[in-house]
Symmetry: C2
Subunit: 361 residues, 2 copies
DNA sequence: ACAAGCCATGGAAACGTTTCCACAGGCCCG
DNA sequence: CGGGCCTGTGGAAACGTTTCCATGGCTTGT
């Protein structure tokens, strides 16, 4: 108790007057032991305040009971929630979570993964800049370490927990089109380092084309513009003809509205906006945000479950994409005739009330 | 490479035709070795794809190079950012982060801490429901494991990284009073499990009294009310006389405005609102949120730094509280005369323009 | 009453690493 | 030319645990 530490099973065995093997059996409830010695060992362990050394155990069992988790950043609530989901699912399984962040840096990604691997993690969960190029990820696979990806589309050799960004983005495009929007834009943050962002654009673009609409404008911005409304406003001002913009995430969608306000544009009258992710605050705003609702928490849970199954000997099996859900919001309305656009009225004016939801998955 | 795994230093030594001791010395650049054998060992290690087993090392060195971190939940961006700060500060130190969440449950708190301890973590960072009652925390202290708290006020026997919630809340009360508000309220979520919430109320109450104002109404709500605007509106409707409400965090402040809207109250004309934390979205809203800005990221970084210093042999030293900053916002205005209140005009009408900021720490 | 089996038990090996120690050879200096 | 001292090297112990195996005593069935 008052000692520095270091009460090993050897101390317990000595205090109980038995061998370490016996003490181990008693404390693990494995093998047999007489009531007598069982009592002595348990008392000794309690009195000495003994607790197992996970390291000793790990060394002998070749399992660290640790799962490594790599995400771009915990400052992004989407990833934080996913990790929370992983954590929740791991509760009670005996596995602990070792986390690492890459800050959206591809080199850091690989380095962090290697670090986790060198820590003898029993399994890995990762969201990366470019999983398809990651040497460390390949290495993990070759070593037979179970790996689950999160947020990424299915990829040869790895299971993943994901939402179909392409399909979700198509849904947004359909909503825009149904309201009569023709000149649209896609506002992207971290386009080069996020396959999610790229997939959303790809889906949006594909559906616009499928609907006979002009290609959406791709507006790429950096961190700085995202958090400085005046700078974002300048960029937005360079795209005057757009009547609806799809932002690659909800935070961006809110920042976008702020920038629009600086330009004197009203949402949704002068410009419609849709986001992605479905963060809860979006629902509470004075003008509720139209967005694609997803559940990062469920994604984390699923990824963790996939790993646990494999750790228990199951075969890797790729589950279907998680469902998403279009959340209607007041940031979305038909374009004001004559404003910005080329003046043509939408081919299909919104006769039906806006669909509340679209399910997929 | 194609093997399951398990290339140990023994294999490297064998391949290089030397003893394991020599291989260890070469690979660690400790002790001496001839250029000849050095070359052979390095080649062998590279060819075999050898990497050290952290477990073997930990067992022998008695240091796991792992730091445990316990927070209530990663779904709360405040804690997620703090962990991100911890993570960032630990980068390059060689320490890895083992995280656990208690979901605001006191029993889970203690269990999780014990779990982390049993994993042989070299140090601990924790935010708990009740650190002063935690047996596991005491145990860690007795074992000589460096511990740093986060978000908690200084506490005998432990260093902590924190912001002075009492003082910050007093600042909010002063801002309210300066604008002429008299009948105020404090909206609290998780009052019983969060000393932060309680301290904020305590400071708010103290300053109201110091300013000769009536005691603020304490409005406690649960998770359910926080995320269902209609239910929150019902509760809010039971407190008709209040002209300004201080919400214990920004999310709550936004939900509160939503509820007010449902009641037909305008913010700030019918009711002023202030939050706490300073989340970024608050700045981007159409009606920017008045709040206390803090930096959870800095808190995490500081906590991590404290631990690293102690792990390098430094003595524990309690740093001063981190600074906070009152962020003015459009949710705050003088009360409309005659509305709700007892009709008396504030003793000190706001002659000076609202102070932009208040610094502390 | 004796063989066969079961139960309780402890010694020892193994896991992967670092480090202490011992040993051998070569060098310098007296 | 011999003693002391570095340098390079490898064997072995230690870290804390689990598990294999051997041992010895006891029970059970014939």
């Amino acid at each position: 108790m008052t000692h520095k530490s270091a009460i090993t099973i050897k101390d317990v065995a000595q205090a109980a007057g038995c061998g370490v093997a016996t003490a181990s059996r008693v404390l693990n409830n494995s093998g047999s032991a007489s009531a007598d010695v069982r009592e002595r060992v348990e008392t000794a362990a309690r009195d000495l305040g003994f607790s197992f050394s996970a390291i000793g155990r790990a060394l002998q069992s070749r399992r660290s009971m640790t799962i490594g988790c790599l995400v771009p950043s915990l400052a992004n609530p989407v990833f934080a929630e996913a990790v929370q989901g992983v954590q929740a699912e791991l509760q009670g399984s005996g596995y602990q979570l070792l986390i690492s962040c890459s800050n959206y840096d591809e080199a850091a990604d690989d380095a962090a993964l290697e670090m986790l691997l060198s820590k003898d993690t029993d399994a890995l969960i990762a969201t990366m800049v470019a999983p398809e190029r990651s040497a460390a990820l390949q290495l993990a696979g070759r070593r037979g370490i179970p790996v689950a990806l999160m947020f990424h589309d299915p990829m040869e050799g790895f299971v993943t927990s994901y939402v179909d960004n392409v399909e979700a983005a198509r849904e947004v495009a359909r909503q825009f089109a149904r309201l009569g929007h023709r000149r649209t834009g896609f506002l992207a943050l971290r386009f080069s380092t996020s396959d999610r962002s790229r997939n959303r654009y790809a889906g949006f673009l594909a559906e616009c084309r499928a609907g006979g609409l002009p290609d959406p404008a791709l507006i790429e911005i950096g961190e700085a513009e995202a958090r400085q409304p005046d700078r974002l406003a300048v960029i937005l001002g360079q795209h005057p003809g757009l009547t609806a913009i799809f932002a690659s995430n909800d935070f961006l969608a809110i920042a976008l509205q702020n920038a629009a306000r600086l330009l004197g544009w009203r949402v949704p009258q002068d410009m419609s906006v849709a986001g992605f992710d479905g963060i809860e605050i979006g629902r509470l705003l004075e003008v509720p945000l139209a967005t694609i609702e997803t559940s990062p928490e469920a994604m984390g849970r699923q990824a963790a479950r996939l790993l646990l199954e494999r750790l228990q000997g199951g075969a890797p099996v790729q589950p279907p994409a998680l469902s998403f859900h279009f959340r209607a919001g007041a940031t979305l309305a038909p374009p004001t005739p004559g404003k910005g656009d080329d003046g043509r009225v939408a081919a299909q004016p919104p006769s039906a009330p806006p669909a509340e939801t679209a399910q997929q998955g």
